[in-house]
Subunit: 117 residues, 2 copies
């Protein structure tokens, strides 16, 4: 798969984290919540998502302008958010428009709500 094919319609799947030689297993909801939380566990990624919430969508370049880090680092954070299923990319050559993945956003929201009662 080319790096220029940003999984526009990728669906969210739970891939258990590697933690030890013998896999340690937890309930699916626990894994899912931890995965979302991990993706949110960096200020840059929070900032990206807040920006996407405001603008509804934006290009990578916009984020690079706003954030105090390099283009390659922004790209890495976008990749992590994409892998976690929280955002999705839409090809608008030569740019890529990133948006919140509403479907998974709802799932994450629900998981956090349930978790905090």
């Amino acid at each position: 798969m080319s790096h220029f094919t940003p999984n526009t319609h990728r669906t969210f799947t739970i891939i258990k984290m590697k933690r030890s030689l013998e896999q340690i297993e937890y309930k699916e909801d626990t894994e899912a919540l931890a995965k979302f939380a991990k993706a949110l566990g960096h200020p840059t990624r929070i900032a990206i998502l807040k920006h996407l919430e405001n603008q509804s969508c934006c290009f990578t370049g916009d984020l690079v302008d706003v954030l105090p880090i390099s283009q390659s680092t922004v790209s890495q954070h976008l990749k992590e958010l994409k892998n976690a299923g929280l955002i999705q990319g839409e090809l608008k050559p030569p740019k890529i428009k990133y948006c919140i993945n509403q479907e998974n956003w709802k799932i994450a929201k629900t998981l956090f709500q349930q978790f905090f009662d």
Copy 2:
């Protein structure tokens, strides 16, 4: 400070993450949310907090019995949750009773709620 003095009345403070040689700065709420999320970003820690929510409180040993990992690893995860301000320990010699830190729990809950709209 002894390892047996588990910061029973420790209050939650934001300590910015080290990320680069030149510090990268974000808004305080962004940092705080990322810090909470990072603490939640591991299934073991989610499991611990869920257990504490059910039992309201419990001893380290109870968690060691329930979780598929060693005592030392459990202790490390407890330390991280304590540093993030999500739990607190109460001395019940020779045991330590851990509970949710309700004050900071509310703060975290609010931050996540606001974040998800």
